[in-house]
């Protein structure tokens, strides 16, 4: 494994390897000295062309806890703002001898394109509406901790499916681990061609959240990405919240053991109510906590082994 660009690039065994290593890494978060020498002498660039709180900070913390030198760059603070092309910018950074580029970019496919240009490892930290592999891995890790083996478990992914990169990565990851997935959204936010996709990848779709909730072991609410919306996907925020939000009433439809996930950031009162976000069964903060451990595991698998020298 040199790059992490898509969950599709990982076998089931590789996914489980990352998750099992993350379980060992999680213990480091509770130490007084949160430092392992594993990646000493490695240099990692966080290259974020979009705003991010969780992903960027957790990748940075993960690198630092593994003793790598981590540097943050944003599009605004680099020569990209002077008109330099993406290719020239990343090749310039690569020429400095860095070991890894962690890339967040608004264009789908940008990290894969960058991986073709550079010699170092590339991690996709979210590209447009395509994928967000590390988020899917940490979601699976969190659900496994709460539910055990995901084989045969039923997970509903609900909300703004059209604009969600988290959806694609999660769908691939959960299916690889044997979970049954149902996608729930209003027709306007259901991706076009979903029927053909569902037939190939073996998942269900529904427009009726109330009918699906009593059957799930986990429900993942997706953020309504209004910044990516140009048209009227739903009449009003209020109507969306009533029809597809995880309201206090809908909490009562869940089985006792069912858990709630949300990749963040949350629109409280829109796709998820405060009652649901703060419920005992909510794993939202567990997901954040797991984010560091899972990203440490990703860095370890990409940079620590034989042949990882750039």
């Amino acid at each position: 494994m040199k790059h992490l660009l898509s969950i599709a690039d990982l076998s089931r065994e590789e996914i489980l390897g990352v998750l099992d290593t993350a379980a060992s890494m999680h213990e480091v978060q509770h130490r007084d000295v949160k430092k392992l020498p594993t990646l000493r002498g490695r240099t990692i660039i966080n290259f974020f062309f979009e705003d991010s709180t969780r992903t960027r900070s957790s990748f940075e913390i993960a690198g630092k806890w593994l003793s790598a030198d981590t540097i943050n760059l944003t599009g605004k603070g680099t020569s990209v703002s002077k008109g330099e092309s993406l290719r020239d910018t990343v090749m310039t950074v690569d020429a400095m001898g860095v070991d890894m580029l962690i890339v967040r970019h608004p264009a789908s496919g940008a990290p894969a394109q960058i991986a073709d240009w550079v010699d170092c490892s590339v991690v996709n930290a979210g590209d447009g509406t395509h994928e967000h592999p590390s988020q899917a891995l940490l979601d699976a890790y969190t659900m496994r901790r709460a539910l055990g083996d995901l084989e045969g478990r039923h997970v509903a992914i609900v909300g703004d499916l059209t604009h969600s990169r988290v959806l694609r990565s999660n769908l691939l990851c959960l299916r690889a681990l044997g979970a049954h997935v149902t996608l729930v959204a209003p027709p306007t936010l259901m991706p076009s061609g979903i029927g053909a996709w569902a037939a190939v990848d073996g998942f269900d779709t529904s427009y009726d959240l109330d009918a699906v909730l009593p059957t799930v072991d986990a429900v993942m609410m997706l953020r309504v990405q209004r910044e990516r919306m140009s048209g009227g996907y739903f009449p009003t925020a209020k109507e969306y919240a009533v029809t597809y939000g995880l309201t206090a009433r809908r909490l009562g439809l869940l089985q006792d053991h069912a858990v709630i996930c949300h990749p963040g950031p949350m629109n409280r009162g829109l796709e998820i109510s405060a009652d649901a976000a703060d419920a005992a069964r909510s794993l939202v903060l567990d997901q954040v906590s797991a984010g560091v451990a899972v990203r440490m595991s990703i860095l370890y698998h990409l940079l620590a082994g034989e042949g990882s020298d750039s």
Binding site: D20, S24, M25, P37, S297, G305, E306
Partner: protein
């Protein structure tokens, strides 16, 4: 990592299951004698088989002394100095029982002592967890060929070997009761778990 090496040579047995249990009991007595009792002891096994041996040692101490000695595991993978020269290794859990290692007499437990590099990594890992009062080393087999100034305090069996030979430790908890024992075989093969460091 746990599978026996696919070698045609199963090796000759140098310690049977009974021999291993006798060695563990003897080491338990030696630890108690040197420590003047079980007070302050903390056993940390180095995964995979070292962790099983640590639990056996804790049980032997309980039988001899009647008190529970805390036992945990200390994974040293992230502290190894050969990570870049080998395929990515699986990382095992680290579990430190009770109040941690501060002020404790920590007994590191491993199956085979060879180059000493695993123990060096364990000492680094331990230093990140706290400050033990003392650190001791107990191993089932010392096969020699040290590359660092490290020696064991408690040894089940000193086993002179050639570097071309392999030492294979198999324990019931990990490899099944039928396989338990220590074997020595040649020629050299890529080192695996339980085959020295």
């Amino acid at each position: 990592m746990s599978a026996a090496h696919p070698s045609a040579d199963p090796g000759r047995i140098v310690l049977s299951s009974d021999d291993i249990n006798r060695a563990v009991r003897r080491i338990a007595h030696e630890i108690l004698e040197a420590n003047k009792g079980p007070e302050g002891l903390l056993l940390l096994g180095i995964p995979t088989r070292g962790a099983h041996l640590a639990r056996r040692l804790a049980e032997a101490l309980r039988q001899v002394e009647g008190t529970e000695v805390p036992v945990g595991s200390l994974d040293v993978t992230m502290y190894r100095d050969d990570l870049r020269s080998q395929p990515t290794r699986a990382v095992e859990p680290t579990h430190i029982p009770g109040d941690g290692v501060d002020g404790r007499v920590v007994v590191l437990v491993d199956d085979v002592l060879y180059s000493g590099r695993t123990v060096r990594a364990a000492l680094d890992a331990l230093a990140d967890l706290g400050r033990p009062r003392a650190v001791r080393l107990a191993v089932l087999v010392d096969r020699g060929h040290r590359e660092l100034p490290i020696r064991a305090d408690y040894v089940g069996k000193n086993l002179p070997t050639a570097q071309s030979e392999r030492v294979m430790v198999r324990l019931a908890e990990h490899d099944g009761a039928e396989a338990e024992g220590v074997r020595i075989a040649g020629p050299a093969a890529p080192a695996g778990a339980g085959a020295g460091e």
